[in-house]
Amino acid sequence: MTGELSMWVEIPVAILLVLSSFFALAGAIGLVRLKDYFQRMHPPALASTLGAWCVALASIIYFSALKSGPVLHAWLIPILLSITVPVTTLLLARAALFRKRMAGDDVPAEVSSRRTD
């Protein structure tokens, strides 16, 4: 199992792993440092898109080289995330808007209110 892999496999895998964890860290830094709740909704998308893509690609390259055949199942993670994350984010945005409106904070009014007709 632990046969030697060539440098041409290990270098891209190493770069992709470090890149993905860098993006995950940038997302966490954003979560801590940004001031407004709606601003803080954006950084988590870093880890669930490019972070997950990089680590899935690294995993595909590594396992395909290890087993000398295509092992593609890691792609399911980005596909799954791109289906589930929008649902959670959308619901959280709506919940935040609803709660901030109830609290009387400075957020836009409902877009479907009967103001024009």
């Binding site: 892999l5 966490a28 899935a56 199942h73 609803f98």
Partner: protein, 92 residues
């Protein structure tokens, strides 16, 4: 595994743990309930990335299934919490 790859994996695990610690800080501090749910959701995603990195570290397929499960349970949990924040009911 060459020292290059194992060091890269260690570095990436370290950065991911740092990200988890920062997210935990947001989870405890809040200030609002939706901030905590957002932080919890992010914690799930980072944990899932960590599982995939560990899968490469130990050259094992089992971690992939753990990552898939974390992603699914994380989705269901955050979805239920967000739904609860929206109306105060999980199932209407």
């Amino acid at each position: 595994m060459s020292p290059l790859l194992s060091n890269a994996i260690l570095l990436s695990l370290f950065l991911l743990s740092l990200a988890m610690v920062l997210t935990l800080w947001r989870l405890f501090k809040g200030p609002s309930a939706q901030d905590r749910v957002l932080a919890l959701d992010y914690l799930y995603i980072v944990a899932m990335l960590m599982m995939l990195v560990l899968g490469i570290r130990y050259a094992s397929d089992t971690y992939f299934e753990a990552a898939l499960l974390i992603a699914l349970f994380g989705f269901v949990g955050s979805f239920a919490l967000a739904k609860f924040l929206l109306r105060g009911e999980v199932i209407e």
